[in-house]
């Protein structure tokens, strides 16, 4: 698949969540126009693209945090903006990019917040709430931390706790906004492995915005590649990720090889002196203090 002009037709796969001809804008700065995408049911969809392509904005619109300037986001065929807030919160969950844990809140208390859309003025804590939080904490491996304060935990643990909160919400769809941004490489893989397991074992539809192309290709079964506010490609990573696409969308000359671990596509950027052009520093350029010339 390559760049498409204008809105793409809806994919054949059944889809509960879709954006139909949406124009996304902050104040009057338009990020994307006439964007049409569909999230296939039970998929692990990853939205990817270079900085400023509108991928986080699109996720915010899907999570109904941003109202599209035109077009609409559809949930089960109805405009998401017209649905009751609580009903949406029982169907679509979100792990925000930078959530804040109140001072002194414990892991169990934070995870219990995920039950908010299932509770009401009169209907408070129930057996179902107890079971959902226990399962969410077990699935994310934070049950042993239940009584610990969230602000004492490491970054990786904290992200798993937030994931547990989103899981306790028991929504068939779960959106993740750059969930690995503040984690080191080992915790990034750990967290994405967790997402993959949840997707396989619980059959939830996951939609994540990721920065790392290789991680996206490794974990997604459906990729949506955005470029300057338009869908450049969408489909399984094996079909979508090509050297031409990466060069065109990311401006990164690369070769695609088979990943020795997963058999999926692995993007390897071309070495600088293999591309041609200026691979040496011009005469007289000084390196910043502390940078070895061999590292440049």
């Amino acid at each position: 698949m390559t760049t498409t002009d204008g809105p793409r037709p809806a994919t054949a796969a059944p889809s509960r969540l879709a954006a139909h001809g949406v124009t996304l804008a902050y104040d009057h700065r338009v990020v994307a126009e006439e964007l049409t995408i569909a999230i296939p049911d039970n998929s692990f969809t990853v939205i990817i693209g270079p900085n400023g392509c509108g991928k986080s904005t699109l996720l915010r619109a899907l999570a109904r945090l941003l109202r599209p300037a035109a077009g609409s986001v559809l949930l089960d065929g109805a405009a998401i903006a017209s649905l009751p807030t609580r009903q949406v919160a029982r169907t679509v969950g979100l792990l925000p990019q930078s959530p804040t844990a109140p001072d002194g809140i414990t892991v169990a208390e934070l995870v219990a917040c995920g039950r908010h859309p299932h509770q009401g003025l009169l209907r408070r804590w129930s057996e179902a709430d107890e079971r959902a939080t226990a399962e969410a904490m077990a699935a994310t491996g934070v049950a042993a931390l239940a009584e610990r304060a969230v602000d004492e935990l490491s970054g990786g643990q904290r992200q798993r706790v937030w994931a547990a909160m989103a899981l306790a919400q028991e929504t068939p769809l779960l959106l993740l906004d750059e969930p690995t941004t503040y984690l080191d490489i080992a915790h990034q893989v750990e967290f994405l492995d967790l997402c993959a397991r949840l997707h396989e074992e619980q059959g939830r539809t996951l939609v994540a915005v990721l920065h790392d192309l290789n991680q996206a290709a490794r974990y997604a079964d459906h990729l949506i590649v955005l470029h300057e506010g338009e869908v450049a490609a969408a489909g399984p990573p094996g079909e979508v990720v090509t050297a031409e696409l990466v060069t065109e969308v990311f401006g990164l000359p690369c070769v695609i090889i088979e990943c020795p671990e997963t058999g999926g596509p692995l993007i390897v950027p071309r070495a600088r002196d293999r591309i041609g052009g200026s691979d040496r520093l011009p005469v007289g350029v000084r390196l910043p203090v502390g940078v070895q010339s061999s590292a440049v």
Partner: protein, 356 residues
């Protein structure tokens, strides 16, 4: 402070009990104990305040007089002369603390109390306009305070609304409006007659001197209206809002609606409290923070804050009357001293925590 470095007692409840109350069950038990202790403190302080003065009455006689028995003279002194002042202190303290707890939780900032956000300054401007321009009595002054507080609230709301009304934006707009209104207030004081200016200054410091039932009634009605609204409509939503706007929204909280209701409650409560007792300093700022430290529970802690505010203002008013023999000072001086010391202590403790 909360939870950090403290030894937590294990969860002693049976699984069945636990499943009925959820993970906040143990918190609730502690919060309940704290509320009971604070309520008893407020009542004890009130009884003590009702008994003390030039004509001393023992605590048992105060209770007898309150319940309709005892000596006729005691009844007159306790119920007619001293109770209005103490009731005003209890109600204004609770209203200020509740307003502070709601607004601090809403803007996710311990400095986000009505005195910092400009509502209290607005109430002061309203009262000063009445004193200087219209020269009205105490009822008109209180009315001016309510109108001024509400006007400042609407102005701050309108200015902060554009751009999503986020916590920090509200604080910045509030600081700006406070600065402007402080200037206006100073100008109004220079324009006032000397006697009016003296009366206005006493009110501005926050004083409970000579308060009658007509002063206590509006704030009591305001409390009766706002407390259920806050407890039922706001408490849970505010707890979710403390997770950040995006997370709260995803959990099904109407963030804009919650903010509007929270702001309305804050403006109403702080303006009514100011109308009754003047813009008493620091109660709205410190009471919710102290309550949080006592309950060690996250969230707005509305009820413990209100009870602590009541106790704080009654004790401060008693100290203002009796701490220096023969010299009465306005209650606002005592709460100001107390609040200032608290802020300095908070900074010192905060730095210790960061170092460890």
């Amino acid at each position: 402070m909360s939870g950090v470095g403290t030894v937590e007692v294990g969860d002693l409840r049976s699984p069945r009990q636990r499943s009925r109350t959820g993970p906040r069950g143990r918190r609730r038990a502690r919060t309940g104990t704290v509320c009971l202790a604070l309520a008893l403190t407020a009542v004890a302080a009130a009884v003590f305040a009702l008994g003390s003065g030039d004509y001393h009455i023992a605590a048992t006689d105060v209770i007898k007089a309150l319940t309709g028995g005892g000596d006729a003279g005691d009844r007159l002194v306790v119920r007619e002369l001293r109770l209005p002042r103490v009731a005003t202190a209890l109600a204004a303290g609770a209203a200020l603390a509740l307003a502070g707890a709601i607004s601090q939780s809403m803007v996710r900032n311990p400095l986000g109390s009505p005195d910092m956000l400009g509502f209290t300054q607005g109430a002061s401007t309203g009262a000063l306009v009445v004193v200087v321009v219209a020269g009205g009595g105490s009822a008109a002054l209180a009315g001016g305070a309510v109108v001024g507080g509400a006007a400042a609230g609407i102005l701050i709301f309108a200015l902060a609304r554009h751009g999503g009304m986020h916590g920090n934006r509200l604080v910045m707009v509030g600081i700006g409006v406070t600065a402007i209104l402080t200037g206006v207030n100073s100008y109004l004081l220079t324009k006032a007659q000397l006697t009016d200016a003296a009366r206005a200054m006493l009110w501005l410091t926050g004083s409970l001197d000579g308060r009658g039932w007509n002063d206590a009634a509006p704030v009591l009605v305001g409390l009766a209206l706002a407390t259920p609204a806050a407890a039922l409509g706001l408490s849970r939503s505010l707890r979710m809002l403390e997770l950040g706007d995006d997370a709260a929204h995803a959990l099904g909280v109407r963030t804009a609606g919650t903010r509007i209701l929270a702001l309305t409650c804050t403006v109403l409560l702080s303006a009514l409290a100011a109308a009754a007792a003047g813009p008493v300093a620091f109660v709205a700022l410190t009471a919710p923070q102290l309550a949080r430290r006592l309950t060690r529970a996250p969230g707005p802690n509305l009820l413990p804050s209100a009870l602590l505010g009541s106790a704080l203002l009654v004790v401060s008013d008693w100290l203002a009357q009796h701490a220096v023999p023969g010299r009465q000072v306005p209650a606002g001086v005592v709460t100001g001293l107390f609040g200032g010391c608290y802020l300095i202590w908070l900074l010192a403790v905060g730095q210790d925590r960061r170092r460890t």
